[in-house]
Structures are given as structure tokens and as C-alpha cells.
């Protein structure tokens, strides 16, 4: 019967194949048409000892290709199709010995399974021993589970230990014999599953990993190969910025149209320069802070349009930054050298005002558990507060510059990143008390942390932006430039699908977007009529980018193909680039809202 000889050493076949692939025509594929006489005739004889190749490049071995397809059919549950393929192709998935072995394992016929194992003809004795160990270990646990402790001990002493492998595991098994709590048994079975049929299937999987792939085709091999191809395509996609999955039908390739580049909306509610914006963690809201002493919470509706939800009034000085709570239900706002206020997002009410008599705050951040906040003060101290306003901790930092007020807390709550001196950033681990420094050559103006907490984006005085890997190192891994900065603090951010892009504001009124991995400048977005102070990329919608400017507006940018059902009309004080409303019934009411009413 035609088929794969599994006791033939692989090297022999590989040598033969290099001779074969040159001479076989490309059309020698495995379709039915290769045998013009139809399937009722005798199956085509296998090319004995010679390798048949398929595919346009002639690098795919036909036997292997058919076998992994057969394996996939079986694992998808298509038993009949798998069997038919084996018959029709003449290429069996497993040799008869291996099939017998698999049957014996499933039936729990352990002693015979070990005998058959030795008949498979494996060359490496260690592999035989490892496989035998796995089988006997299963036998041991099943005996224990059936309360046959003596039988288990006999197996351990006379069959498992003499194999001379995995001594540590042997000792563990020995302990299992007396500490036979159900919990321990479960742990012993944890890899194998608690009931015998699933645990035996898991055993087969483990055996598959131990035995050479030519003997038993690895589980999910075809899926793995396809995933590798998709990963290569994804990595090669320069402008990749979508959340959709990749299709198998065509090679994946994103165009530049995936990057936000058109103004979709201009938000004109602030009456003065907008200094800071940030999307909420769930991408449903945007918060903005302005020189007009207010902050605004905007809501992103299903069409991707932003509408003002609440205007937060109360600060007596300009609001310089905002911070979303980890659950996005609360917002912190910080006035310049003033107080920190905590607001409820849903109602817009101020829940608490944090103040320290005589000293003003200059920055604020949440701890990941949402129960404490970190604040920076003008006298260079840091304070941790709990939500009710009780001061939990306070220590003096080393900040000697008033220019940068940034600090940020890592996702796990352990890392605090703060300005140390003009040119250094301190990475402080609260748990290990370890301190690391990022040292720059020029003054640092702002920084932001990546989503995964492994990278820090640092804006510098000299118009460069540096990307640092802070998980290992810290090491500087990339540099972005092109934007303009001379007088003000400009902020940049990570964004896009898998944070593959970097965006920054600029004093030339444009938004700059770079490709993170290569450092190439991909887009400069014009539209604002004043310095762009801050940018924020929607963490959930990779096509939505927001920018805040001295021209009192916030712009929402989207991908070229995106369009909103309604476009807003700003008041006369903001430039709208000639976008006109399409006569929607809400038009008038919308203008009022745009001018800063506190509720919708």
C-alpha cells in the first residue's frame, strides 16, 4: 500500500528530493486530474525513495503537505474526509504501528503501548524513554485515582524508576503516593485533565511533542504555518492601522489611507488656548483642558462624532492637565499651581477638591487600582492621596525645573516615571525601590508612556523626540524629528493599531505623524491656526486622532475614507475649513452646544 515509510531516516529523503525537484514539471500537483484514468483504477505508485514536490517553487514536499492537510481535517472533526484523503492520496497519516500505538494509548492499554512504542523504530533511545515515561506516568496516576496505591507503587518502582530519566519527577510521583489529596491528584492531572478520556487525549498530545514529527504529525501544524505567513505579512505592512483581521485570500497590505489625515471635526467650545487633551481608556470620551479655566468632557457617539457632554467649571486658574481614572468613570483636572479636582464623568459634578494650603499642584495621575492618586506640587514634593482627600504619603522629588511637570504611573502601579533634573528622568520602582535614570543631552520638555509600559516617548528642547525602551535598559531605540518647538511645551503620544505610530504637536500649527519602528515621517496635518500643544490618539479606534491648539479648537482627524453623517458648523470665531452642515434638523441646537453649554 502506498504510503509513508516512517522508519526511513529523514536525511535519505532530503537528499533524493534535491535531485527530484529539478526534473519534475510544475503541474505535478495532487489533484485528481493527475490520474486521467480516474480513481477507479489502481492508485498511482508512490515514487519509491524519491521525493515529490508541489508548489510553484518546488520546495513543498508532497507527502508532508498531504499529511498535514489530513491531520487538519481530523482535528477539525472531519473524520470521513480525513479518511477519504488518506485513501485517495495513498499517503497515510500514520503508519500502522503508530496507529496501533495511538489506539492503545486511548484505550489505556499501557503495557502494550510501551511494547508498541519500542516497535516504532525510533532511533534516539532518549526519546523512547521520555515517551515511555509519559505513558507510565499516566498509568501511575490512573492507578492512584482508582485507589490502587500498591499498584501505583509497583509501577513506580519496577517500571518508571528503572527508565533512569526525569529523576525529579520520579520523586514527586513518590510523594504523591501518600499525599493523595484530591487536590494533589488534580495537580498531578492538571496537565492531563481530570477524567480519563480527555486526559488520555492530552497524553497523546504530549507524546506528539516528544516523538519526532515524521512519526506523529504535530497538532495544528497547518494552522501554525498559516499564522507564520500572516505574521510576516502583518510585519511587512508599513501603514498597518486597522483592527480587522487579515484575510487568507489576498496578501495583506495597508495603504497610507489608513492613517488619520483629514479633519473630520473641529470642536470650538473653549474660549481660550487648549493645552491638554486625552481620550479615555475605553475610547468613548475625550477630555480637554484649557487656558479658559475650564475642562470639557466630550462623548464619542456611534458615528464617531464628538459631542460635548459636560463643561467642568470651578478652577480659578487655567487647567493644564487631565487624567482619566482606570475605569473611566472619573476625571482629575489640575489647575496651574492650584488645586486638583475630581469629577464624576456621568454627571459632571465635582466630587472632591484636593488642596494643600500655601502650595499649588502642577500635575496629577491615578494609580491603577483607582483608589489613590499621585500629585506633584510646586515645591517639588510628590503626594499620594486616597480618594477622600486623606494624604497617604509625601516625599520630596528632585525636580529642579518648572518647565516640565510630567509624571506618570505604570500600569501595574509599581513604576513611577518623573522628571529628575532638566535632562534626566527618574524611573522609580515602588516595590523594589530600584531607581534607574534616563539621561538626555538636552532639556526634556514632556514625556509619555506606551500602553504596555515598556517604552517612554521623550520630547526634547531641541525639537527631537526620543523613544526609550524602559523595560530593558533603559536604552534609546529611536528618534523622531521634523516638528517645530521653540517656546512652549509640546506633547506627543503613541497611537494607532498596536501603537505603531507616534504623533506630536508642533509650533508650526501642524500635527506630525511618524512610523514608530522606522522613524520615518509619514504625515504632516495642516489645519490649525496656532501652535498644536497636545495630541491624543483614540486607544480603541486607531483611525481617530485628536489635536489641541492655541487657536482655541480641538481637531478630530480620521482616515481618508472616513466620513461623518453630520459635520459641525463652528461659531464665527473658529475656522472650519469650509465644511458645511448638510442641513440636519439638529443643526441649530448644535451650534449652541458647541459654544459651551454644560449639558447636551
Amino acid at each position: 500500500m502506498g504510503g509513508f515509510e516512517d522508519d526511513e531516516p529523514p536525511s535519505k529523503r532530503a537528499r533524493a528530493s534535491s535531485v527530484e525537484s529539478a526534473s519534475l514539471p510544475d503541474c505535478f500537483s495532487f489533484s485528481k486530474s493527475a490520474n486521467p484514468l480516474g480513481s477507479t483504477m489502481a492508485r498511482p505508485l508512490p515514487s519509491q525513495g524519491k521525493e515529490v514536490m508541489v508548489g510553484s517553487k518546488g520546495v513543498i514536499k508532497k507527502d508532508e503537505f498531504v499529511r498535514i492537510i489530513t491531520k487538519t481535517l481530523y482535528s477539525l472533526g472531519y473524520e470521513r474526509s480525513g479518511a477519504v484523503l488518506e485513501e485517495e492520496s495513498g499517503i497515510t497519516l500514520h503508519s500502522p504501528t503508530v496507529n496501533l500505538f495511538r489506539e492503545q494509548v486511548i484505550d489505556g492499554n499501557w503495557d502494550n503501548a510501551v511494547v508498541t512504542l519500542n516497535k516504532i523504530g525510533l532511533l534516539d533511545e532518549n526519546i523512547v524513554k521520555s515517551a515511555a515515561f509519559l505513558i507510565l506516568e499516566q498509568k501511575f496516576f490512573e492507578l492512584l485515582r482508582d485507589d490502587n496505591v500498591m499498584g501505583a507503587m509497583k509501577t513506580l518502582r519496577s517500571e518508571i524508576t528503572p527508565l533512569g530519566v526525569n529523576r525529579k519527577r520520579v520523586h514527586e510521583l513518590s510523594s504523591c503516593m501518600i499525599s493523595c489529596s484530591p487536590q494533589q491528584l488534580f495537580n498531578g492531572f492538571s496537565k492531563l485533565g481530570i477524567d480519563s478520556s480527555t486526559s488520555r487525549l492530552k497524553l497523546l498530545e504530549e507524546l506528539q511533542k516528544v516523538l519526532p514529527p515524521t512519526v506523529m504529525v504535530p497538532e495544528k501544524r497547518l494552522e501554525s504555518l498559516v499564522e507564520q505567513a500572516l505574521t510576516v505579512q502583518r510585519d511587512a505592512c508599513y501603514f498597518h492601522n486597522s483592527v480587522d483581521g487579515l484575510s487568507l485570500y489576498i496578501d495583506h497590505h495597508c495603504g497610507k489611507d489608513q492613517i488619520p489625515s483629514r479633519t473630520l471635526q473641529v470642536l470650538c467650545a473653549h474660549r481660550d488656548e487648549v493645552w491638554f487633551i486625552q481620550f479615555s481608556n475605553n475610547g468613548k470620551y475625550l477630555a480637554s483642558a484649557s487656558n479658559d479655566k475650564s475642562a470639557i468632557i466630550w462623548e464619542v457617539d456611534e458615528d464617531g462624532e464628538l459631542l460635548p457632554k459636560h463643561t467642568l467649571n470651578g478652577h480659578e486658574k487655567s487647567v493644564m492637565m487631565v487624567a482619566w481614572s482606570p475605569d473611566d468613570c472619573q476625571l482629575l483636572t489640575c489647575g496651574v499651581e492650584e488645586t486638583i479636582r475630581r469629577w464624576d464623568v456621568e454627571s459632571g459634578k465635582c466630587l472632591h477638591v484636593y488642596e494643600k494650603p500655601g502650595i499649588g499642584f502642577i500635575s496629577c495621575a491615578w494609580f491603577p487600582d483607582g483608589k489613590q492618586i499621585l500629585s506633584g506640587l510646586t515645591d517639588q514634593h510628590f503626594c499620594i492621596w486616597d480618594l477622600d482627600g486623606k494624604e497617604v504619603d509625601c516625599w520630596k522629588g528632585q525636580r529642579s525645573t518648572k518647565m516640565t511637570t510630567d509624571f506618570t504611573v505604570g500600569k501595574d502601579g509599581k513604576l513611577i516615571v518623573s522628571m529628575n533634573r532638566e535632562k534626566t528622568i527618574l524611573l522609580f520602582d515602588r516595590e523594589t525601590k530600584q531607581e534607574r535614570l534616563i539621561e538626555e543631552d538636552t532639556t526634556i520638555t514632556s514625556f509619555s508612556l506606551s500602553e504596555d509600559g515598556d517604552f517612554l516617548l521623550v520630547n526634547l528642547f531641541n525639537e527631537a523626540i526620543h523613544l526609550w525602551n524602559i523595560r530593558n535598559g533603559p536604552i534609546r531605540v529611536n528618534r523622531y524629528s521634523g516638528h517645530k518647538r521653540s517656546r512652549f511645551v509640546i506633547r506627543s503620544c503613541f497611537g494607532g493599531s498596536e501603537q505603531a505610530f507616534i504623533a506630536s504637536g508642533s509650533e508650526d500649527s501642524q500635527v506630525y505623524i511618524w512610523h514608530r519602528a522606522t522613524g520615518d515621517l509619514i504625515e504632516t496635518l495642516a489645519g490649525h491656526s496656532g501652535t498644536v500643544n497636545c495630541v491624543s490618539w483614540n486607544p480603541v479606534n486607531p483611525h481617530m486622532l485628536a489635536s489641541a491648539s492655541d487657536d482655541h479648537t480641538i481637531r478630530i482627524w480620521g482616515a481618508k475614507k472616513a466620513s461623518l453623517k453630520r459635520k459641525d458648523v463652528g461659531s464665527s470665531s473658529c475656522s472650519s475649513n469650509g465644511i458645511h452642515s448638510n442641513g440636519n434638523a439638529h443643526g441649530n441646537g448644535f451650534i449652541h452646544q458647541c459654544n459651551g453649554n454644560s449639558t447636551k
Binding site: 524508576t161 520520579v170 520523586h171 513518590s174 510523594s175 503516593m177 501518600i178
Partner: protein, 195 residues
């Protein structure tokens, strides 16, 4: 000092001979229970842990209850003896009955694993835990038990002779560290005796 050493280690006959040759009077404390202690000590050396436990309970009640480490060591000694006499099934049963409760306390778990591992080998002497079967191990357990019993009777745990040797060693060590490697070699009883 010599006398205390002899009594500490239950060398009763030697002590009596010593006493008669030097004319010293026997201090009252030491003769207390020296016979019983000697019996306990010897049972442990033989590996008869159960008998040793029985006598200890008589001589120093509650000692083992309060000293879990010691109790564990003695019980495991019995286990080891069963293994040594190739009574594996009995050993397993004993282990299941008596030793499982110790398995819940983390500090005993590692030791327990070592003891249990003996069961996996047809020839435990050839296993990596062969040292558990050795007379030196039993000597160690016997010494700990002896010290505990003495302590229970408010007698010093180490004989004064032993104390002196310990002190000499430590002093030599400090001198070595302070002054330098070559001036004061570490104290070795063997070297001292061979001089």
C-alpha cells in the same frame, strides 16, 4: 568537665570507672535518668524509633508534643527503617498514616519528599538519598533527641567539653579574620590530638 562529657553521652560504666580512679564525687544532677537516656540513645542508633519514642514519652512527657521537628525526625526514622528492611508496603502505609499530617507544613515538605522518594527505588542504597539510610544519620537523630531530653530536665544541651572545643574553634576563626590568614590556622581537634 570530662565527667560531664561522659555523663552527657551516657557512658555510664566509663564514668563509674573514672570516678573511682579520680576519687571525684558524682554530682547529683548527672546521674538522673542516665540509664533511661542511654537506652533511648541506643534504640535510635539501632533504628528502633518506635521504642525510643515510647521511652521518651515516659521519661519526658510532652517533649515530643512540643517539639514537632524532633517528633517528625523520629517518625521518619521508623519509616526509613522499614525501607531499609525492604518492607515497602508497610513503609507506604506508615507514611500514609503518620507522615501525611506533616505534609501540610511547608518546612517539612522538602524532607518528606526526600523520604518518600526512597520508595521509588528497588535498591534505596543506590538512590540519591542513600545517606538517609546511613548510621551517621541515625547518630544525628540520636544526638538531637539526647539534647532535647537533657534540655527538658534543665540540663545543658551540650557538654562543657564540647562547648570548650566550639569556643576554641570560633576564637581561632576570629583571630584569623582579624590578623590574617597565616598566623592562626583554624582549630582542628584532630590536629590537636595528633600533636
Amino acid at each position: 568537665m570530662v565527667l560531664s562529657y561522659l555523663m552527657h553521652n551516657c557512658f555510664k560504666e566509663t564514668a563509674e570507672a573514672f570516678l573511682s580512679s579520680t576519687g571525684l564525687k558524682l554530682p547529683v544532677d548527672y546521674s538522673v535518668n542516665v540509664d533511661k537516656r542511654k537506652a533511648i540513645f541506643n534504640f535510635v542508633l539501632e533504628g528502633n524509633a518506635l521504642k525510643a519514642i515510647e521511652l521518651t514519652e515516659e521519661l519526658a512527657p510532652n517533649l515530643l508534643e512540643n517539639d514537632m521537628d524532633l517528633h517528625f525526625d523520629l517518625l521518619s526514622l521508623h519509616f526509613i527503617e522499614l525501607v531499609r528492611s525492604r518492607k515497602f508496603t508497610e513503609a507506604l502505609e506508615f507514611g500514609q498514616k503518620k507522615l501525611t499530617s506533616f505534609g501540610k507544613v511547608p518546612k517539612y515538605v522538602e524532607k518528606l519528599e526526600d523520604f518518600m522518594a526512597l520508595l521509588a527505588y528497588e535498591e534505596p542504597e543506590k538512590s540519591p538519598m542513600f545517606h538517609l539510610l546511613s548510621p551517621e544519620y541515625r547518630q544525628n537523630v540520636a544526638d538531637s533527641l539526647n539534647r532535647a531530653v537533657l534540655g527538658h530536665a534543665n540540663l545543658p544541651a551540650y557538654s562543657s567539653l564540647e562547648r570548650v572545643v566550639q569556643q576554641a574553634t570560633v576564637v581561632r576563626q576570629y583571630l584569623q579574620q582579624e590578623v590574617g590568614k597565616d598566623s592562626y590556622p583554624p582549630f582542628s581537634l584532630k590536629a590537636f590530638l595528633s600533636k
